[in-house]
């Protein structure tokens, strides 16, 4: 049995991974919940967020706030791109077969992935941690970088903010209504198309932000898009496609299974993740906290 401080450190690293995944997967889940589309390009938005953040830091230099400006600038840029793609292309595919929608998002993966390669090359890139969060905290014999702590706190903060927006604001009510019955909502005079664009923009923003914030911890490389999208799929499937707290729970489970799986069964950790996903789909296709689709 490994000692407790090690277990503690391991669970914190799992928690950090979970909060990142939550950030990304919540966007994916939002799009599925409202638009009923699995967006393969969501991983690509995440990758573009990472590259854009890198690019903005290159332009700004390493000032005290340049990382934060870069992170939000990158997320905003990706959100804009998401909005354009939805407004001008994706909107024409609503009501067509699911396969076409799936393949369209996959086409975006191919095109945007290569565009990123053309702009930034295939060399891996990285950013250093923002000033003020470079140190580490010693807690119960484990060393936790401040940046990880920041991410661990940011995840729940975004989750709460999100939940509040969905429950208490007018736009949030519309989004929930659109997820339940888009025709009725349209008949009641709500501009459903604009709402969909808004949801896509918001989801892309979350994906881009996740990508931008992960840059101090993981290298920015081509291929990070197809890797993360599978992880995000697992998270939303376990939690329940379209369910907000389900995504949160799914991310927590994923993070812990992965970080302890690597510890105890290094060779079966990826396997166990997908096995968990398959098991959830078999037993409760709508996920742990989701509701069955009508």
């Amino acid at each position: 049995m490994p000692d407790l401080s090690f277990v503690f450190a391991q669970s914190l690293s799992g928690l950090t991974a979970a909060m990142f995944l939550f950030l990304i997967a919540s966007g994916l889940s939002l799009i599925f919940g409202v638009l009923r589309v699995l967006n393969f390009a969501h991983g690509t938005f995440y990758m573009l967020g990472a590259y854009s953040a890198y690019q903005i830091v290159q332009w700004l230099g390493t000032g005290p706030v340049s990382f934060w400006v870069a992170a939000f600038g990158a997320a905003a840029g990706v959100a804009l791109l998401g909005g354009i793609v939805e407004r001008f292309l994706f909107q024409r595919l609503y009501g067509k077969e699911e396969l076409y929608q799936l393949l369209f998002t996959y086409a975006l993966v191919l095109v945007l992935g290569d565009v990123a390669k053309i702009i930034w090359g295939t060399q891996q890139k990285s950013l250093s941690r923002p000033p003020g969060l470079t140190g580490a905290l010693s807690l119960f014999g484990a060393t936790i970088p401040y940046y990880n702590l920041f991410i661990i706190l940011l995840g729940p903060a975004i989750a709460l903010g999100f939940w509040f927006a969905l429950q208490r604001t007018r736009a949030g009510r519309f989004i929930r209504a659109a997820a339940l019955d888009r025709e009725t909502l349209g008949a009641l005079g709500v501009n459903v198309n604009a709402l969909y664009t808004g949801v896509f923009v918001l989801a892309s923003f979350l994906g881009g932000l996740g990508g931008a914030l992960i840059t101090p911890m993981r290298a920015i490389v081509p291929g990070m898009d197809t890797e993360v999208i599978v992880e995000a799929f697992v998270v939303v499937v376990i939690g329940g496609l379209g369910s907000f707290w389900g995504t949160f729970l799914g991310a927590l489970i994923y993070g812990q299974v992965l970080s302890f799986g690597i510890l105890f069964f290094p060779r079966f950790s990826i396997f166990s993740i997908f096995a968990l996903m398959a098991a959830v789909l078999i037993i409760r296709p709508w996920g742990l906290l989701g509701k069955p689709l009508k």
Binding site: R36, K96, L103, A107, D114, I118, F233, F274, M277, P285
Partner: protein, 328 residues
């Protein structure tokens, strides 16, 4: 017009394909071999997506299982091709039976997700189980089938001798794939195949007239898996090695694109898609490394402009042509 449709086109194409090594270079034989194997893989997927209306996002799993089965049997256990090839189909069919049992219970998007999850499980196992699958490095140097007997035949028949092993393998692939496609054609045309189309069009009504929809879907899943496995078995040998990315989710989407490009729901569509896509790939790769960009653009144009794929576009063009002739 009538005389044109009476020509046995499948036979003509098959015979023409036999002359590729003699007429073209080694490169063209290589390309033709690639096309033929992918044509089988894509056609097997079409049975699910095009004919039954089940969108599988994990069809590469059965391709990978077939490739590993033949590869392991031939390389590690020295089993002859004659046994190792059908074994690929049997192994893939068995896995398809188990996975499919769960998948057909789910509807639409969840079906796609579960097929994806199972494919990723297969990929993860191939990726990590070093002792059996060679892990991340894969399994290089799968031997060619033994062609000694061909030399004996060559003494009796003209045109058979004097070819390289890779060309012998191409001939073997042609014969086997032609046989598989013929079988699949029979399946599609049979009452069973018609019932699959009924299920695609209206599963509720099929249920009402007393069809066990799930059982039919499962059967289609197993047949499609088996033929994908056979394609995989051939591909491992052709590729001179079997690698985990055979079962990765991006492979599943590649074959889906092929099927869509050629035209779903038409029998020759996917084979046409395989031909066009592989040929395009070879042409474009010599100019630029950004093949995915081109492929993605093709896919977007296809989705917005020609959702019926090549076969669909040809059919509507032919219909227009015929109508004009009638008017004139």
């Amino acid at each position: 017009m009538k005389t044109l449709s009476r020509v046995p086109w499948a036979l003509v194409v098959l015979v023409a394909a036999f002359f590729v090594p003699a007429a073209g270079s080694r490169y063209y034989t290589f390309l033709a071999n690639d096309v033929v194997i992918w044509a089988l893989f894509a056609t097997s997927l079409n049975l699910l997506v095009g004919y039954t209306g089940l969108v599988s996002f994990g069809h590469a799993a059965y391709f990978g299982i077939g490739a590993y089965t033949t590869g392991i049997l031939m390389k590690k256990l020295g089993v002859p091709f004659l046994l190792a090839f059908p074994a690929a189909g049997v192994a893939a069919a068995l896995f398809a039976l188990v996975f499919g049992f769960f998948c057909v219970r789910l509807t639409r998007i969840y079906f796609a997700m579960l097929t994806l999850a199972f494919a990723q499980i297969v990929w993860a196992i191939c990726f990590k189980w070093n002792e059996v699958t060679g892990g991340e490095q894969g399994m290089p140097e799968i031997p060619y089938p033994a062609f000694d007997w061909l030399e004996l035949v060559a003494a009796w028949l003209p045109f058979v001798g004097g070819y390289r092993t890779s060309e012998h393998f191409y001939f073997l692939t042609l014969v086997l794939v032609a046989g598989c496609l013929w079988l699949l054609r029979r399946v599609v045309g049979s009452p069973f195949g018609r019932m699959l189309t009924t299920i695609r069009e209206n599963p509720e009504r099929a249920e009402f007239i007393g069809v066990n929809v799930r059982r039919y879907e499962l059967a289609a899943f197993v047949v499609a898996g088996a033929f994908a496995g056979l394609a995989g078995g051939l591909f491992g040998i052709f590729n001179r090695g079997v690698f985990p990315d055979f079962a990765y989710w991006t492979k599943s989407s590649e074959v889906l694109i092929m099927t869509l490009l050629g035209g779903m729901g038409t029998f020759i569509g996917p084979a046409l898609g395989a031909l066009v896509l592989i040929w395009l790939n070879q042409q474009i790769v010599s100019y630029t490394q950004y093949w995915p960009l081109i492929l993605g653009t093709i896919l977007i144009v296809l989705l917005f402009v020609f959702p019926g794929g090549i076969a669909g576009a040809l059919e509507s063009a032919a219909r227009r042509f015929r109508r004009r002739r009638q008017v004139a």
